[in-house]
Amino acid sequence: MNNIFIYCEITEEGSIADVSLELLTKGRKLANQLSSKLEAVVFGNNISNLESQLFPFGVDIIHYANDSRLFPYTTLPHSSILMNLIREEKPQIVLFGATSVGRDLAPRIASALRCGLTADCTSLEIGNYDETRTQKEYQNLLYQIRPAFGGNIIATIVNPETRPQMATVREGVMKKEILSLTYKGSIKKIDVGKWIKPEDFIVKIIERHVESQKINIKSAQIIIAGGYGVGSKENFKLLFELADLIGAQVGASRAAVDSGLIEHERQIGQTGVTVRPKLYIACGISGAVQHRAGMDQSAQIISINTDPNAPINQIADYVVIGSVLDVIPKMIKYYKKNSK
């Protein structure tokens, strides 16, 4: 007991999702700080190479439930197994990706176990807490740090009394890093029949069209992001042209995605991806707090905007006042001219 559990999600291809590998990386560090073990929880259907996918991240135990009814994810079978597993194993911390799976499952588990859950954490640390009301002191609690109020405040949340301490974390917030290719743990197979009831299958998936992740802008070193100011799908082609030239990936603000200018996978911000490139070129993006939350850790920021008062200009290193349609072709031209 008292270990760190990471609930792992399965991709369409049957492998462990990136967000889960990122959480395993962080989980390993937390486990080291707390002198406890890192354990992965995997519910799926005949997942191949589970050991080689997970052990290198420093996983000590894999709890594996293998059943064809467990993929794709539905709430009730996963929550029945997980809540019972947690009751048996008593981890001190359980982490989930803040995805449509994690944000569906984690609150249901927290309600059943009557424990605390913090959603969409952007940072996790270990620290102490003094409760002024009861004069109690707590050691080695999980600090669950997250934006709230539409991104206008950052809150640090703790769960002093209840266990496990649970949190969901967005993809791209933690960095994925293998600990050692030779790390060896063990696998514990879960007896699925013990915890699943027929009523758990009352909700049925009739159809499912989910694409594999084709675009991954998280690890791009240079990102050119388009906002509502780009104006049209046609105009986005300019961004792609510049991106090809300088080796960048194309991203977008939520406004551009919501207007149908570009696909959701490229969305950067609070409800999209968090990125930390060495250069972020914002094209026609006003820079609402929710967008900035996803890119303000970029090393250098260029903002191209017709509005000199756009909020994003205040965090930019270079501000170009002008229209995207005018500036991007010139950037292409002068890049070609100046680079040898």
Partner: protein
Amino acid sequence: MSFRIIVLAKQVPDTRNVGKDAMKADGTVNRAALPAIFNPEDLNALELALRIKTQINGAEIILLTMGPSRAAEIIREALYRGADAGYLITDRKFAGSDTLATSYAISLAIKKLAPYDLVICGRQAIDGDTAQVGPQTAEKLHIPQITYVEDVISVNTQHIVVKRRLERGIEIVSTPFPVLVTVHGSAPACRPRNSKLIMKYKHARTITELQDEIKDYTELYSHRPYLNIEEWNVNDLNADTEMLGLSGSPTKVKKIENVVFQHKESKSFTSNDQDIDSLMKELIDSHVIG
């Protein structure tokens, strides 16, 4: 047999458009200055409820909200759009409740409104942004949940088929009732107020609001009971006060920091050729671009 839909909604400060008036001199947000609105995704939920109502004979929509007295405003907004009744659960003892304590109170109110078929709410509120209350309420009611719903494909008194919006695609999911559904912001926008319904419900009030009114509405209410917005407190719900407020909340806020506008030293350029030429030169020379 009446088909009962309960829409869970929240009145929230409008955190999406923090304009200059809501910004204090030190760059932090003045929360009290933000207008109070009907949580956007709860409006999407209300719209789906209204569409379901047209598909089922005798269906009724009840809007349930937990909040201070002024939350009755969103009950009226729902009545103006086609909801049939509203319930406000309000009590000082709810203050400081996290999502677990909130879902406890809400589930007690829903149990009091049983039998019900569908509970529907927005995926998340724009102040807490947690998306936890829906699933936690479903767990307490021991009913299935379907989250991230974008649309209703078909519905009858026994069964509903919905479309879910996932990160990289969609799912079509079917379930019998009762079920709790959370609705994603990509669902159809809520219809506007209906002028006939505004006329009908504009005097709808909770008992607390009536006490503050200058006019005496007793005559009006005796003829039109539908103007009465029910108010329930901790006693009406038979709630265990240990499970409410701060004592019922396992999550505690250790610290809040305001996000302050950081002003950076930046270099300004116009869009003329000369400026862009020197910008690109500088970026290449400093190895920012290869």
